[in-house]
Amino acid sequence: MTEMRKEWVGFSPRRIWTIALNTLTESVRQKVYLILILFALVLIASASFFSQFGFGETGEQEALEQLKFIKDFCLGAISVFGMLIAIVGTAQLIPNELESRTIYTILAKPVRRFEFLLGKYLGSALLVLVSLTMMSVMFGAALKFKGDNYLRMAHESVRQAQDAGSAEDLVRQAKRIHAAVYDADLVKALVLAYMKLALLAAITLLVSTFSTSMVFNVAMALMIFFAGHLVGAAKEKWAESALARFLLALIPDLGVFNLADDVILGSTSVPWAYVGKVAAYGGVYLIAVLAAAHFIFAEREM
């Protein structure tokens, strides 16, 4: 059987995809995600059921405040639930594989270790993407439902306006409400929120390549998550110290992914160039994290 020597097992995107889909299926069928997602969706939907205000002299202010509240509340909920799903969903992947011994059956097949690792990561990133998309759609629906209500009232006021001057004024008001509802910056905020969660999932996977305990993985990932949000402030405080700057550069600056505050204040639009810059930062960091995870995992005996 000399032909066996000619056989070659190359890098296979198909195998990675098979493992990714399997990981996603496994996660989706666990009730814990279903409950988490349902809870998040109910919470987000509930944001639009807060008390209705009349539209009049102060109506515009009321409307804009309400819409601001919905955005603030929903983006916050998406951030928290997204974080939970990214961390919990990823932290258990490798411990579960070891416990059910499926990792042995997979590695006993002609599968490369980094294909396994990348497949697991992609499955987790897909789970976060699916969850985030569902939450975003619900958020959009809640915002539109509430916003359209205000717009209807605004148009009604325009129709009933006594004179041309006040009508013009009311039209301007309606336009401002329209802009607050159909705000393109929300899309930018959600894109960066996803990038942050994808990076967080990769960091959690990196932690789980050298630990065997799911609790440790979750705790470490949470610590890195919070540290990542404080690092921006710390960088400003210790800007003079080269050592501090070096150490702080190792922690991902997760704060830069947060557009919620800018979007909610809505004073100036966030340029796409900023989104691109942050995405590039996230991409480089993501590759570095996955490479580190690969080097640790490739050397690990199971």
Partner: protein, 295 residues
């Protein structure tokens, strides 16, 4: 199997295979496997026997490159084990597998088939064939969380066989399985042997593997302390036993004296006993015939 060079090819070969595990924190190293030289010929069923912790699982993991040898090496069909290619023709059933609880039997096999590069109609046909072969055709759409231990072991065998490998590594295939399940798994191993597959299995249940293995090796504390063909090892060359049916009690003395005259010595005369396992299987079979078909 003879290679083009005319040499007999071994399905598995290990040379001075040694594994020490670091216990960590200055507690030293544990010698799990000590200079194992193993040769499993293509087409045979080889049983690796030994008590718990004797190095059986470590041997299998070393062959599959899940852990790495401290020294020595292992080859599968002459390909070094640290090459991914060496695993193209290997199927593996780990000890006490649980698999993916949320997948059904058919989905599980589909997943492993895809990992081996299979797809479409050939994969679908192979899945049906294997589910039939391991007796899980009716449980194909049930999730594995609802499978019994014996069923998990059988889906594990099917998973190992999905890409029709030439070599199977089975780690304690009958451990924790009831006598019927164990019998079914042993029958399957014999069928695989008849199909020309090579099987390396590990077990601490000696009686269970005696009738399926061609050769066995006994490991203790990481060392191979006994190896040989089962039929040779268990045969007592000096003794011979007759099993006689319907012999009148009066003729017994004549038989005994004939043996004595010829220079032999009667060591024992007794009624042969059936094994509890045989009795158990017979009773269940009778019961099933009465109760009709059930799962």
């Amino acid at each position: 199997m003879v290679s083009t060079f005319g040499f007999e090819m071994d399905a598995i070969q290990t040379e001075n295979l040694t594994k020490k595990y670091n216990l960590g924190w200055g507690r030293g190293r544990l010698l799990a496997l000590d200079g194992l030289n193993l040769q499993v010929r293509e087409g045979e069923v080889y049983g690796l026997l030994g008590p718990n912790g004797s190095g059986k699982s470590t041997t299998l993991k070393l062959i599959l490159n899940i852990v790495w040898p401290t020294s020595g090496g292992a080859w599968i069909f002459d390909v070094p084990c640290d090459k991914v290619v060496s695993r193209l023709h290997v199927g593996f059933l780990p000890e006490n597998p649980y698999f993916y609880r949320y997948l059904t039997g058919a989905e599980t096999l589909n997943f492993y088939g895809r990992l081996c590069g299979m797809s479409g109609t050939p994969l679908r046909k192979r899945i049906d064939e294997l589910l039939e072969m391991v007796g899980l055709a009716r449980a194909r759409d049930r999730r594995l969380s609802g499978y019994s231990k014996g069923m998990l072991q059988r889906i594990g065998l099917a998973q190992a066989l999905i890409h029709d490998p030439r070599l199977l590594l089975l780690d304690e295939p009958t451990a924790g399985v009831d006598p019927i399940g164990s019998k079914e798994i042993r029958d399957l191993i014999l069928r695989l042997k008849a199909m020309g597959k090579t099987v390396l299995l590990s077990s601490h249940l000696l009686a269970q593997v005696q009738d399926v293995c061609d050769r066995i090796g006994v490991l203790n504390l990481g060392k191979l302390i006994l190896e040989g063909e089962v039929s040779q090892l268990v045969r007592d060359q000096r003794r011979l036993s007759f099993t006689v049916q319907d012999l009148p009690e009066s003729a017994r003395a004549a038989v005994e004296s004939a043996v004595a005259t010829a220079g032999g010595k009667v060591v024992s005369v007794e009624h042969p006993q059936t094994t509890l396992e045989t009795l158990f299987l017979q009773a269940l079979r009778k019961d099933e015939r009465g109760a009709g078909d059930h799962d």
